[in-house]
Amino acid sequence: MSFFTKPQPQSAKPAQKHVVDPALQPWVEKYRPKTIDEVSAQDHTVAVLRKTLSSTNLPHMLFYGPPGTGKTSTILALARQLFGPDNFRNRVLELNASDERGISIVREKIKNFARQTPRAQTIASNGKEYPCPPYKIIILDEADSMTQDAQGALRRIMESYARITRFCLVCNYVTRIIEPLASRCSKFRFTPLDNLSSSARLVHIASEEHVDVNSAVVDTLIDVSSGDLRRAITYLQSAHRLSSSTDPPTPISPRDIQEIAGVVPDVVINSLLSTIGIESIDSASGTSRASFDSIRNQASAMMREGYSASQILSQVHDIVVLHPALNASQKSRCAIIFGEADKALCDGADEELWILEVSLRVHKVISS
């Protein structure tokens, strides 16, 4: 029997629509805000959008901001509130970078999608009334990964379908959107979530899912996800999965979260730092002159443990930059080294060589 048996068209089951078992559904999807008022922490944006909801006149929009700050959630919630559950599907088109996005395909899809003129049907099946304005919404997720050419072509498309469609571009870096496109949209900036709203949301989800989390775990979650709520929720779900799969279920510990997030344990980072010559803040033992070999052994040991170099780098960076005992000149010289190393790692450089390089050079800066 072949692995690749195509589904029979007339098979008894209706074509599976990839319905996900609610128990297995990612919490990120499950707890997406249903209305824009539920969106965490983006008060200013929400206030503006609420107005458009009442006037039902929507401009083209450009949402930008770091990942996990609720951009996609906001536009989805807004669309849901505008069109109601019945019309949502045929009024909203979501395209993102993973789908085939050659500009010709985008054009084709948009053309097809925009062809049928929307009919106003304001009373939904659930009895509620929705504004259901006479246009469709096209969401272009990850718009900053579109090429310049594609963006240029998009500009023309936006104009020619302006009567019946509204575009919402979602991206991380507004600077990567070409100016003519950006100028056609009202821009909304999404700010990284403050810890308070993140933790409120996490605690809410945890209690809904009957997960036992203490405040230390929540703090760790927020810490490792640095304002990215989606990541925090995903980590929480993974941790829950791991802890509940054991028999009997073990409570989630902060260390679990760190391991899931790929964070290097503090002990390891501290031992690296002390080899380099930076004493961790709490321990105050005398500095020892590190030799080349000791640093090299330390670096290769860390690599053997499988820690990711970029993670080590960012953790070392966080400690060095905030370190009380280093002076500004030392810190800035270190910062240059970190910058170079980050670039190198992005270019795919050998991790061991660069961790060693960073260690040696930081050591040199510290001991000079």
């Binding site: 692995f3 048996t5 999807e29 054991t246």
Partner: protein, 356 residues
Amino acid sequence: MSLWVDQYRPRLLDALHYHRDLSSRLKSLAACGDFPHMLFYGPSGAGKKTRITCTLRELFGPGVEKLKIDQRIFLSPSKRKLEVNIVQSNYHIEITPSEAGNYDRLVIQELLKEIAQTQQVDLNAKQRFKVVIINEADSLSRDAQAALRRTMEKYMSNMRIILCANSTSRLIAPIKSRCLLIRVAAPNRKEMQDVLEHVSRRAGFDLPTEAADKIIDDSNGNLRKAILCLEALKMQSPDLTGPLTIAKPDWETYCQKVADLIISEQSPARVMEVRQKFYELLSHCIPPTVILKTVADRVVERVDETIKADVMHWAAVYEVRMRIGSKKIYHLEAWVVKVMSLYKHFFYDMDLSGFD
């Protein structure tokens, strides 16, 4: 006759010798039905692949070991044919997209779509989903990673993805956040020794501790390398006593001799000679990064403490250039020249200070 590494590779999670916590976690994950996408990462030879196959076995039973190899042909947009080898059972499929080079995105997309659209044909299967193993995930292009990101969400109902990578640094954040990260660290000395002893027992002999020590020293946490070493050693001197020399692959000794060449003379003519040697190494499929690291390690052993850091610094610098550039030999050679100058200057300065 198969290699020992393959012959004595554990097939079950319980049979794994180290990282027992990890094994039990994997076991319970496989049992609980809520199996996530996973990303195994860790250094080469730490046992990622073995753990993945064991987990599969745990998920689907022995049927998963009935493998067949397919060669599939994909057509690139420019109508070029891409051949990709696919290992598959009824329950899982395994691909190494880096075989498709720049078209990995295409291969990933086509394959995953195809798998996601097919039902599990085996009604007795333990799981409703199929597993896709993606090898060398850290060499996936950004494009392919982006494509993967969406599919992971979309087809969660009947497909799970297991990524296998040496490091997470080159994976984009959305992928990492969609997977359960499983770190497989290299075994420590004790663990390696256990495994080596186990393998020797299965092969029918006792491994003297000195021999084991020697192998472990040499293998730098790479268990596969250690077992290969063990086999070679046993082959060379069946009684495993007396002074043992580890049979290193030729290229390693070659690299060391290249390092000696660098140390023994610094002149333009020598640069030329070292270049010949580098060409020779490159044409034996040794990755340039590995060449650079191996030679640098040896050079560092032989030079004075004061210039060690510089030697490594330039190795790091030229290694990055190598990644970006297309002609590896330039960068290898530039490093050699740099090291030679450093070394020469070092002696020159010493002479001067001695003279004062």
